[in-house]
């Protein structure tokens, strides 16, 4: 109650989490349990580039979260946008990340995969690529999965962007949950395969992994034995 900041009232900001590009604070906004996602200026960035990146991403993030919500994906409700401070105030989701869920064996990996596939299906069907679809950006709350952090999202119709989402997701499984990768990804494909561009996405996924030195396949094709 004692803290009144700017034009909106926040009650006691408490730093909850340090993200890669933002600080997440816990607070109450007009009585609603909320978080403030505030993009941080980076000391290492040129100020002009810094401002451009932070402003563009704040606006884009809010827009795309709203679009995702409209297409039936659980996302935190947006309560306020303060673009001068690169801040979005949104509903607090009380749950745990899928990363922890998998680490602590709290849920069936295949089922989690199916739920994530469902989210990707809805997202891509509404022409949104998330841009950072990792197990760290999915929160489980009362058996419902919430997608957070739309900081790298974009509106797109490009199969390449959808395939990149799948690639980033697969990469997060490979690097953080190598033991559960297959189960989760099998579940993912089960639901995501309803996407009308599924075949093309999977083909492009293969391309991406070959192109950028993800070359298990490429090696056997080309001049390995020299």
């Amino acid at each position: 109650m004692e803290n009144r900041r700017g034009r909106y009232s926040l009650e006691e900001l408490k730093l909850l989490k340090r993200g890669a590009e933002s600080q997440i604070y816990e607070t109450y906004f007009l009585g609603i349990h909320a978080i403030v996602k505030k993009r941080i200026s980076k000391a290492y960035r040129d100020p002009k580039l810094d401002r451009k990146i932070n402003l563009e991403r704040t606006i884009m993030e809010a827009k795309l979260m709203y679009n995702a919500l409209k297409s039936g994906i659980n996302v935190p409700a947006i309560l306020y946008i303060d673009k001068d401070n690169f801040s979005i105030i949104m509903e607090f989701i009380e749950g745990i990340t899928v990363k922890e869920v998998l680490w602590k064996n709290l849920y069936d990996p295949k089922k989690i995969g199916e739920m994530i596939g469902e989210i990707a299906l809805r997202l891509h069907s509404s022409q949104i690529a998330h841009g950072d679809l990792t197990t760290n950006n999915l929160i489980l709350k009362e058996n419902k999965l919430f997608l957070i952090d739309f900081g790298l999202s974009k509106r797109t119709n490009d199969v390449e962007d959808f395939a990149t989402d799948v690639h980033v997701f697969l990469r997060s499984l490979e690097s953080v949950h190598p033991d559960k990768k297959d189960e989760v990804f099998d579940g993912f494909k089960l639901t995501y395969s309803k996407f009308k561009l599924y075949e093309k996405v999977m083909e492009t996924l293969k391309d991406i992994r070959m192109r950028g030195r993800y070359v298990e396949e490429r090696r056997s094709k080309s001049s390995n034995r020299e």
Binding site: A20, K42, A43, Y44, L49, G212, N224
Partner: protein, 331 residues
Amino acid sequence: MKVLGIESTAHTFGVGIAEDKPPFILANVRDTYVPKSGGMKPGDLARHHATVAPDILAKALEEAKTSIEDIDGIAVALGPGMGPALRIGAVVARALALKYNKKLIPVNHGIGHIEIGYLTTNAKDPLILYLSGGNTIITTFYEGKFRIFGETLDIALGNMMDVFVREVNLAPPYVVNGKHVIDICAENAKDLIDLPYVVKGQDMSFSGLLTAALRATKKYPIPDICYSIRENAFDMLLEATERALALTEKKEIMVVGGVAASVSLRSKLDLLAKDWSVEIKIVPPQFSGDNGAMIAYAGLLALKSGVTIPIEESVVKPRWRIDEVDIPWRN
């Protein structure tokens, strides 16, 4: 135990000798091919390596005050790299192993960079930035292998900056008095111009940045472009690094590979480190570029874990990824 290591994956032919007790590195001799103009032609590279090999080998043994008979194994970087260059190193290594009846040890070039990093920086459990001309990789060791958290989806950061300065006739040479010419050029910049900034999760893409920067030369002063391309490229890398830090919660960042020598990258990393309360550990300059000592040292670790290869199986692997290599010595 002593291992002699041969590096010949790209422009450098190097021979190093490592021992399993301090000071660990007994010799590190190399010769780097510099084309008079343009890029490197693989054939010219191979000719250079074949020409300098006997001399470099002799100098390394002399520097280590040892004879080939006292060496326990011959390590060689079998990849990744340019085929014709790799083959010279492989031929020399096979010949030595055969003639002197030594164990042959296959070493992945990237693992060489990483292991010499551990040795010289004393990093314990770092997030690793492996940045060389041909590689832009964010990795960390986990359960027997180096796992890749992020990398370039197309060209490497170092290569991209080299190509840019070459195309605008600022290079070669690429490094003058220890500074990359893109940094020297950027010192005269007046303004940041708008160039693509592409981070996908923890991965990066630099080819669009290069294309746009080359196109921008028609409209903007070269120093402004040098500055802007460097800022965008490094900031993309640092953002991807921050994402990997958030995911892994590591407290050290170790930087290895040729680009580790960049002064402008170093100052950006220092700012990032302060912000995240992590330590930055950068491989010293004599071991940052390609060198034989890193192959010898990684080979030594491999040999102690029983990793050797029969000569007839020692084919070169131009596209050998670091995450395909089992690392038995780190468990």
